[in-house]
Amino acid sequence: MSNQKENLDVSIWRGDASGGKHVRYQVPREESQTILDIVYYVQRYLDPKLSYRYACRVGMCGSCAMMVNGKPRWTCRTHVQTVLDGNKVTIEPLRNLPVIKDLACDMSEFFDKWRKAEAVFHPTKTRDDEIELISPDSPKRQAAAAAIECINCAVCYAACDVVEMNPKYLGPAALNRAWTLVNDQRDGAQIERLRAVAGDAGCHNCHSQQGCMTYCPNELNPTLSIAGLKRVTAMAALKGKI
């Protein structure tokens, strides 16, 4: 690579819940460099007080998401060359979540909403029962399979304008997970889940702007899952079930 010794002009948001500001750093550009590599470099060599979160570095754990040049990204799998603005990179904490310090957000509310959406499996069998056979070709299993590979990174939550405008809204990740369980024939809390996602903070608040789908690093489509929830809850309401 011809420009290996060039420096990147990196601006990182530093601060906490009471406020903060962008601080600029010069970071050497490397081949196949990711955004997480930049953050790692700053913390390792320039400012050890920089706080951020990561674990697996291979796009599985969902812990390293940040705003990169204004867009939510999984930073361990985002190559610098794909997002560079000239030679500038701006890195900020995820939108729509309270900041703890620097690039580390408080994820409590995000995961609390998963519980509020009944995005939790309620088993109907014990370990002594026969394993329930589910055909991979069944429409319900296919609908669940299309939405199942969520890594809980909160990129969709940060991309969602409805969450920004209506902070109680359960958000695309929790509703996407609820949709996989609506399609799980082993689950025993279907009516409770439909009630949970049909309330004032539920799926009907989605405006189908598809920010979640646009930025989901695993190319899931939470908007489609939410549309499924709208359809199923509407039918349940018309039948008087919820």
């Binding site: 405008m165 209506n166 049909a198 539920g202 509407a234």
Partner: protein, 109 residues
Amino acid sequence: MLNVHLYLAQRISAMVMAPLVLGHLAVMIYAIQGGLNAAEILSRTQGSLWWGLFYGLFVLAVSIHAAIGLRVIAHEYLKLTGGVLTAFTLIVGLTSLGMGGRAVIAVVM
């Protein structure tokens, strides 16, 4: 701030409005063929139960649909919640119904 019942009310009112809007547009195009004047319109609508039901249903559907739509905007942009948001929704809906109903009565009665 939309639950499933408000969502259904808004979608069903939209389904009611869709054919009524098409009917209204068709009549408008037909009605202006020989020029547009109040006497001609009133001669068609006054005493007509059919046009009273047509526009009465239209006003009812619009009142429900618009009140719920503005409720969402009021919550997201004006941050109205709880009783204030409910009052806002009812005021918009009932005002639309009252004004629209008055207009329907004026051209039918």
